[in-house]
């Protein structure tokens, strides 16, 4: 029997018209140009963090390029600017400052400033190089975006690719007899059916609500943040390569320094402080308080419904990983693109890998609450008392004892990001065969070599402002 290609998906309904839904729709339509992909609007939900985080990590660059979402277009139309990493203020003591850069870490045997961090500290920028001999091959960057402009730009691209936008919004999802979704009812009263439903509606998970109830994996004993404060307006723009996360005794404040404005938020726990105290600690004039229930669905793909973004996984936006996770999961969906005959084993494969991604992002965030020293503060005390997942315990333990980072399948963070996180939190690597046996002369040579590399990179880079101006000029 020769077999055959599977019958392709004929219709896909993407519920949610924020960046998560639009990116999914664009990716699916590109993969299956003859498939009718419809985006069904849902009310904008400020709690849909994957939609509203204004910063991405380097991993998204290649993904967006692959999906035909060009960086130049984002610079011209979505307020894009480029960032080299994040400054962590006050995480290990009240006064501490550390840079968590992107790119390659210095040789593990020496404690040194990475090339990316050196650039950022000098307030300079250059694009990464492909040539391993160039010190600029050590750097990498992430994008910042204006969420509203980004949503509009994605919407235009989706329309251009032939994705249909339903004029009428989502009203209800109806289950079928086999544990899936039979169809959607729109506000207009119209019914929509599809081979596959992609739920990008944010934490309300409007489509998945129509499924038989699914176990929810609760992360509230692991991640402290369950309230977010978002001010109604953005702050003044600031041109810099680093964004900032500041620990305060009542929570942490995140600031993305976009060229359109500063996108700030404050993350807190219901266990510590009050809305008034949070607003004060955040330094906001006023802010909406948004609840966040950290955790994820056990299976992100159930029957004919795939949950992306906050519909599937919810966690505090430390380091702004929410959209990065969406991109990794959309790439996975495109890799494992099903036919019309959805197969349970391919769902299992997607669920295994997508869950591994989510859990590892959670571990990365949780790591930040387990530094060896912490500033005084009720929030820090509360967070430090939370549970350490076994996988994170293993990571910290192996790193501190043996200077190694065990491999985890589907980690959305590159190895070097873990190295940088450890360094920024004051978690020192344990002795390795290399570090223990390195002669003093060899160590000095390594340090000198690395310092020269960083200095050369700084030399060849432009001041951030000048670089950005030239970049925007060429993007027009």
């Amino acid at each position: 029997m020769p077999g055959s290609a599977r019958e392709p998906l004929g219709t896909i309904a993407v519920v949610g018209d924020g960046p998560t839904g639009l990116v999914a729709a664009i990716a699916l339509r590109r993969a299956l140009p003859r498939c009718a992909v419809t985006v069904i609007p849902t009310p904008a939900d400020p709690a849909a963090l994957a939609d509203w985080t204004a910063a991405l990590t380097p991993r998204s660059n290649a993904f967006l390029r692959q999906m035909g979402i060009e960086e130049g277009m984002l610079a011209a139309r979505a307020g894009a600017s480029l960032r080299l990493g994040t400054e962590l203020a006050g995480w290990t003591s009240g006064q501490s400052r550390a840079v968590h850069p992107f790119g390659a870490a210095p040789p593990p045997e020496i404690a040194a400033t990475s090339v990316s961090a050196a650039l950022a500290l000098a307030d300079r920028f250059a694009l990464p190089s492909d040539d391993p001999a160039s010190p600029l091959s050590d750097i990498d960057y992430g994008l910042r975006l204006n969420p509203q402009a980004y949503t509009r730009a994605l919407g235009a691209l989706a329309a251009h690719l032939g994705v249909t936008r339903s004029p009428s919004g989502f009203a209800a999802a109806t289950g079928d007899t086999s544990g899936g979704i039979a169809g959607l009812r729109l506000a207009s009263g119209e019914d929509v059916t599809a081979d596959l439903f992609v739920d990008c509606s944010g934490p309300a998970s409007l489509v998945a609500q129509g499924l038989p109830s699914e176990p929810h994996i609760d992360w509230s004993r692991i991640l402290p943040v369950d309230r977010l404060l978002i001010p109604p307006t953005t702050g003044a723009p600031k041109l810099t390569a680093l964004d900032r996360i500041t620990a305060t005794p009542l929570g942490w404040r995140g600031e993305v320094f976009g060229r359109d404005g500063t996108h700030a938020l404050f993350a807190a726990s219901i266990e510590v402080g009050s809305p008034e105290a949070w607003v004060e600690a955040a330094g906001f004039a006023e802010a909406a308080v948004i609840p966040l229930a950290p955790g994820r669905r056990d299976r992100l793909w159930q029957a004919n419904v795939i949950c992306l973004g906050d519909a599937g996984v919810r966690f505090e936006p430390l380091h702004w990983l929410n959209a990065a996770l969406v991109h990794a999961q959309v790439a996975l969906l495109i890799e494992l693109l099903p036919g019309r005959d959805l197969h349970p084993l391919e769902r299992n494969e997607f669920n295994r890998r997508a869950a591994a991604m989510a859990d590892r992002a959670r571990d990365f965030v949780a790591l930040h609450y387990h530094a060896p020293t912490r500033p005084e503060g009720a929030f820090q005390d509360y967070a430090a008392g939370l549970a350490l997942p076994d996988t994170l315990r293993l990571t910290i333990d192996e790193f501190t004892r043996r200077g190694r980072l065990p491999f985890f399948e589907e980690d959305v963070l590159p190895r070097d990001a873990w190295v940088f996180a450890m360094a920024s939190l004051g978690i020192a690597p344990g002795p390795t065969a290399r570090s223990v046996t390195l002669t003093p002369a060899a160590r000095t040579a390594l340090i000198r070599g690395h310092e020269a590399r960083a200095a050369a990179a700084v030399q060849s880079a432009l001041p951030y402002r000048d670089w950005l101006a030239a970049y925007l000029q060429s993007a027009r």
């Binding site: 029997m1 020769p2 077999g3 055959s4 290609a5 599977r6 019958e7 392709p8 998906l9 993969a31 299956l32 140009p33 003859r34 692959q66 045997e109 495109i334 890799e335 494992l336 693109l337 099903p338 036919g339 019309r340 005959d341 197969h343 084993l345 391919e346 299992n348 494969e349 890998r353 293993l394 333990d397 192996e398 004892r401 043996r402 190694r404 065990p406 491999f407 399948e409 589907e410 002795p431 390795t432 065969a433 290399r434 570090s435 223990v436 046996t437």
Partner: protein, 505 residues
């Protein structure tokens, strides 16, 4: 950080595993370990294990061994893959290459497009789209390019070498780098009454050696882990019933040297053929429940080509592993920790992998339970995944010509493999793991080579205009053929550099 007191290490056994461990520790933990290796010439080494995987190159590079010198010392040849004959069906032959098939298109793996063309009655052999397979078939070899995305970097290579020469070569190397060698038979193992750790080993002449860390490389005897610590054995012979081998070297034939290993399925197992510079290694791996030793030796004589250079020699083993490889202060590496038959040449890889893990976890400042747990987690994962891959070779068959093949064809496979098979059949996909030994191209090679063709595959393979797709595949085939044409023969390539040759002037 800074320097610390060296950890004292005694390695028990001087086979491939023992000397590999000694050489690697001497080079990768210089000054961090005091290393002594004890071996017994009376007992000797297992003396087989001649086909390797590309990882062995990284291993020898990492410890600073020059490739040409090593090839010369071990009479090594290049290996591009394994030719599996008569596995899926008598008369079949496919090569599992160290390389990929075709090129992915629009994020869809190549094999989906190949399946699509195959269903249209074309392109029966996916091997046509692998440079490594075509070069192997043509008896040609060239070093791959390392970094770019061209065809010339679409493959890797390994070596076929003389197992009796590899250990001694590493011995000289390790001793030059400060390893102390002791000749003698260990007659007793003393344990610390309190901790249960191994305290010392004692030789026939009464000499006693203590150490912080003991590495058990004593081969199938498993002198420390198995005998002394009595770590339980996990038996896998119900899935991998072969438990003996008969080995016999033969003279090299004149002409081209095959740049690959052959594995030919026989009535109660399979036979290897490993061409070296100066001879050919042959052996029949069989299940004693299905054939007796004499008939197996007879079977080997029947398939081995060329004049025999020695009498057939019989080896006994079992498929499985010790439940844990690192217990107390004893780390078992090589045959002392477990055995998976050589169908995919994985055993030396497993030793080298374990050695490099041990370097990663090297117990400066004392062994902690976490080191052991982590080491065992990593070793188990490797063993389990290789096990499933080996079982596939036996199970994916339509052979019903002997009780052995009836058994393996109809046996119940581990759930982990059953699910992989079902996913492949229903969707043409290979479950993806970032860690482990065999990745997608390897699974595709064996599935397709053994006629496990999916019922359904990626819908996107049907989207391109089919004549355009057919032309693209044709072009790829021609490109590969042209590159193979431009490669030298394997023998010519070997002889191009006399530094590689054992018998060069």
């Amino acid at each position: 950080m800074g320097r610390r007191d060296p950890v004292s290490v005694v390695i028990v056994g001087g086979g491939t595993a023992g000397w590999s461990a000694a050489a690697a520790l001497a080079r990768l933990v210089p000054g961090g370990a005091d290393i002594r290796l004890i071996e017994s010439a009376d007992i000797g080494i297992v003396g087989v294990g001649e086909a390797t995987l590309p990882h062995v190159r990284q291993f020898i590079q990492q410890i600073g061994i020059d490739e040409a010198a090593f090839m010369r010392a071990t009479h090594a040849t290049f290996k591009l893959g394994i030719d599996f004959r008569n596995f899926g069906r008598i008369g079949d032959s496919y090569i599992h290459p160290f390389g990929t098939f075709g090129r992915d298109l629009a994020q869809v793996p190549f094999h989906h497009y190949w399946l699509q063309r195959r269903a249209a009655g074309e392109e029966a052999d996916i091997g046509q789209f692998s440079l490594a397979v075509q070069a192997a078939r043509a008896g040609r070899f060239q070093l791959p390019r390392e970094t770019d995305l061209s065809l010339a970097s679409s493959y890797g290579y390994a070596y076929q070498f003389d197992a009796g020469l590899f250990g001694p070569y590493l011995r000289d190397f390790a001793c030059q780098h400060g390893v102390t060698r002791t000749e003698g038979r260990i007659v007793s193992v003393e344990r610390d009454a309190e901790s249960g750790d191994v305290a010392s080993v004692t030789l026939e002449d009464g000499t006693r050696f203590t150490a912080d860390l003991f590495i058990d490389c004593s081969g199938f005897r498993s002198l420390l882990l198995g005998d002394a610590l009595e770590e339980p054995w996990e038996d896998w012979s119900h899935w991998l019933p072969c438990d003996r081998a008969v080995a016999m070297p033969t003279a090299s034939p004149a002409g081209e040297i095959e740049p690959y290993t052959r594995a030919t399925a026989l009535g109660a197992g399979w036979a290897w053929r490993i061409p070296l510079q100066h001879r050919v290694g042959n052996g029949y791996v069989y299940a004693s429940a299905f054939i007796d030793d004499d008939s197996a030796a007879e079977g080997l004589r029947g398939t081995a080509e060329g004049a025999a250079l020695a009498d057939p020699r019989i080896l006994r083993f079992r498929a499985g592993r010790r439940r844990r490889s690192w217990v107390g202060n004893v780390v078992a590496i090589g045959l002392a920790s477990g055995f998976l038959e050589p169908l995919e040449s994985t055993s030396i890889y497993l030793s080298h992998m374990a050695i490099l893990r041990l370097v990663d976890l090297f117990p400066f400042g004392g062994i902690s339970p976490a080191d052991r747990a982590e080491f065992n987690r990593l070793v188990d994962m490797e063993y389990d995944r290789i096990r499933d891959f080996l079982i596939l070779h036996y199970h994916a068959t339509t052979r019903d010509d002997s009780p052995f093949w009836d058994h393996v064809r109809t046996m119940q496979v581990p759930d982990s493999l059953a699910e992989k098979l079902e996913l492949w059949r229903a969707t043409g996909r290979v479950a993806r793991y970032g860690e482990g030994l065999f990745f997608e191209p390897s699974w595709v090679a064996v599935y397709c080579g053994q006629n496990v063709v999916p019922d359904r595959w990626d819908a996107r393979a049907a989207l391109p205009d089919q004549p355009v797709l057919a032309r693209a595949l044709d072009r790829l085939k021609q490109e590969i053929a042209a590159q193979v044409q431009a490669m030298p023969g394997h023998r010519a390539f070997l002889e191009r550099e006399t530094r590689r040759l054992a018998h060069a002037g």
